[in-house]
């Protein structure tokens, strides 16, 4: 049987309970948020736009589980990247949720979950895995020219995941998780014994690496660096997932500055909260003022907050299976999402300001403020 797009959207909308047809955007006072997610009734992976009240504006069905979204500066479109190892990325219209292009990786490569646009929105850099060699790659795409692939350069390590652009607009910072996978074995980790995670700073003009930083303590070589965020002063905060299943409690959240000559600085946190985090962090985000850093841990059901730049511990907020964290649009603070369909607006660790639950939704890893 053939299901045309109209029938498909109709079915999806009715089952999505609260979703609206594309084009029916509402609540325009603040642009809202984008999140990947899963509709538990229709059994479909989606990317959704939420308005400032955290209601769903539209859903765009995805071919497979999505991971992160990123807004193209100066444009009216955004990108959603498949969960690693990914075979698609979809460019879509933020206003109506209709897809514009589908990107597929170059032969022999997979998308690895994240991408970042240049400040002028003309270039897109994506983390990718060249699966035969196992090398991490940064794929370069000309967003201004139909997203044509234009170049690729090494990510400086194995298993690159999230990347960000420093304030200078020329330097990429890449979290190389250190874990190798191959399509023959899906998401199986092939090199845990020898993994060497790193943070790499790369000149976008030349594709050359300025600096590669690893943990100076060899006992930390199994802390896979996955997610990061950059502050206006160039401080990079990053969070790890501990692959050593030995019961030993490792710090998980660190900061670093390019060219500082300093090793990674551990951000302090209470042992009880670190213990709850179960060696596993999800998203890393600063609030718009850059004064507060938030790091989620879905396994711990916690989002942790620090005062920046001094790195002082503030508090944590309990949200089971919580992973998505975005800066709140119209006040200081954050919006958090979880795998049970909950969205919560909060300032650091205190009382929730507003919440919305979508009962048949699982919000996936990352939430992005538009």
């Amino acid at each position: 049987m053939v299901i045309d797009r109209r029938t498909f959207i109709t079915a999806l909308t009715a089952l999505g309970l609260g979703g609206m047809l594309p084009g029916a955007a509402r609540g325009e006072t603040h642009a809202g948020y984008l999140s990947t997610g899963f509709d538990t009734l229709a059994k479909r992976h989606l990317v959704s736009r939420l308005d400032h009240r955290l209601d769903i504006v539209w859903d765009l069905p995805l071919p497979a589980r999505g991971h992160a979204t990123m807004i193209r500066p100066g444009g009216d479109e955004a990108l959603v990247v498949a969960r690693r190892p990914g075979s698609y990325a979809v460019v879509f219209d933020i206003a109506d949720g209709l897809s514009r292009h589908t990107l597929t990786p170059q032969s022999g490569r997979h998308f690895y979950g994240h991408g970042v646009y240049s400040a002028d929105g003309r270039t897109l850099w994506m983390t990718e895995n060249s699966f035969e060699s196992g090398d991490g790659v940064i794929g370069v795409y000309d967003a201004a020219n139909g997203y044509a692939p234009t170049a690729a350069f090494p990510s400086g390590g194995i298993g690159p995941h999230q990347l960000a652009l420093l304030e200078d607009g020329r330097t990429l910072v890449v979290a190389n998780g250190g874990i190798r996978t191959h399509p023959d074995s899906g998401r199986t980790k092939l090199n845990l014994e020898t993994m060497q995670p790193s943070l790499c700073y790369i000149n976008t003009a030349t594709g050359r690496m300025f600096e590669q930083v690893c943990f100076d303590d060899p006992a930390r070589h199994m802390l896979s660096i996955r997610h990061l965020a950059v502050m206006a002063d160039g401080t990079v905060a990053f969070a790890c997932q501990d692959q050593a299943d030995n019961g030993e409690q490792m710090p998980l959240v660190f900061t670093h500055r390019m060219g500082s000559g300093q090793p990674f600085q551990t951000l302090p946190m209470p042992g009880s909260v670190l213990g709850q985090m179960a060696g596993y962090c999800g998203s890393v985000t600063y609030d718009p003022a850059g004064a507060v850093l938030a790091v989620s841990s879905p396994r711990g059901g916690q989002v942790a907050f620090w005062q920046m730049p001094e790195g002082r511990w503030l508090d944590s907020f309990a949200i089971p299976d919580g992973c998505g964290v975005a800066e709140a649009g119209d006040h200081p603070g954050f919006v958090l999402s979880n795998g049970e369909g909950l969205l919560v607006e909060t300032t650091q660790g205190s009382t929730p300001l507003h919440q919305q639950r979508h009962p048949f939704r699982k919000w996936d890893n990352h939430l992005t403020a538009i």
Partner: protein
């Protein structure tokens, strides 16, 4: 929501989510095979037989030479087939998750009135090929039980003559839909015949666990809370108000969910107190639903109707929390979406 209630709402699932498995993992293969042979396959078999009967019944009705034969026989055939559907409605993984089969059998909830709109369009359009052949390519909203319900229980008689301005006679429309339902049901039956084939047993067990928890939420929220409303009853949100069987559906759902829970729990002997509590809560829910009768519009129209709907919804919601916690331990499986992702 008050601060305290909010914390409570957050903490309960947290406990459920972090409960560590305290016993050896069950034999997933065995568990999966049992559920397929004792729950899923017989469920689809009953649906398939019922749907075929329904199709025959409509054909008989439409062959009848009487001017306007009454519709009692087709309506009761509808009820039997639909009872069978309600008993498997909670299964949302497996073959029913292919080609939109779940939505094609029952496109609901339908707050925007899409079924009525698309059915009206269908009836007003001259078909360019026989409906029996084209229905499965049309809008999902006209392919299943809700559209058929409107034809069998609506005011217009089920006859072989199109009534202007309609271009299609209601007999052919009803027969085409019933035939489509029967074909989908037959496919579901055929595709679940082999108990050992398919996805890996652990994943399938987790999917079933997920389906059970989702179904409890679905019944409590969509079938009960929404129609009960917070200030004023909203009977137009009831499932199958036209055939007057909204509450009958809920009773069948509760029985089916209890059966699936028992199979998933299996012979586990951990956490016997929670298990006993869950079984007794199912009894409470069944007593509550029986007290409401079968017809939701009638039940909701009574003075205490909305309160009783909300009370039953709360019973199912507490069952959902208990079961999520209990089965996480018993099955050694977690439902954490992000916690399990590994990214």
């Amino acid at each position: 929501m008050s601060h305290r209630r909010f914390i409570f709402a957050l903490v309960l699932p947290l406990l459920a989510g972090t409960a560590l498995p305290t016993q050896a993992a069950p034999d997933y293969q065995n568990l999966r095979n049992t559920i397929r042979t004792e729950h899923i396959h017989p469920g689809y078999e009953t649906l398939s037989v019922g749907a075929q009967e329904l199709e025959h019944s409509i054909a008989r009705h439409c062959r009848s030479t009487e001017q306007a034969p009454d519709r009692v026989a087709v309506q009761s055939a509808f009820h039997l087939a639909y009872d069978a559907w309600q008993a498997v409605q909670h299964i949302r993984n497996g073959p029913v998750n292919v080609e939109d089969r779940h939505a094609r059998l029952q496109f609901w909830p339908d707050k925007r009135g899409i079924t009525d709109r698309h059915l009206r369009q269908l009836m007003l359009t001259e078909p360019n090929r026989p409906l029996d052949q084209s229905i499965s390519d049309m809008s999902v909203a006209v392919q299943g039980f809700p559209a058929l319900e409107r034809l069998l229980f609506g005011e217009t008689a089920l006859s072989q003559h199109a009534q202007a301005p309609e271009k299609i006679n209601r007999c052919s429309a009803a027969h085409a839909i019933a035939d489509n339902i029967a074909r989908i049901a037959r496919t579901l039956f055929d595709e679940t015949r082999n108990a050992t084939a398919g996805t890996d047993a652990r994943t399938e067990t987790r999917d079933l666990f997920n389906d059970l928890v989702t179904a409890l939420k679905f019944v409590s929220t969509i079938k009960l809370q929404d129609p009960a409303g917070s200030e004023r009853a909203r009977p137009f949100l009831l499932e199958n108000a036209i055939s007057q069987r909204s509450v009958r559906n809920v009773e069948i759902n509760i029985r089916a969910m209890r059966a699936l829970y028992q199979l998933l729990y299996g012979n586990a002997d951990t956490d016997a107190n929670t298990h006993t509590l869950i079984v007794s809560q199912f009894d409470v829910a069944l007593n509550e639903v029986r007290a409401l009768g079968e017809n939701g519009v009638e039940a909701l129209g009574q003075e205490l109707g909305p309160v009783r709907f909300r009370s039953l919804a709360a019973t199912l919601e507490s069952l959902r929390e208990l079961i999520a916690e209990d089965l996480t331990t018993v099955l050694g499986l977690s439902l954490g979406f992000n916690a399990l992702d590994g990214d």
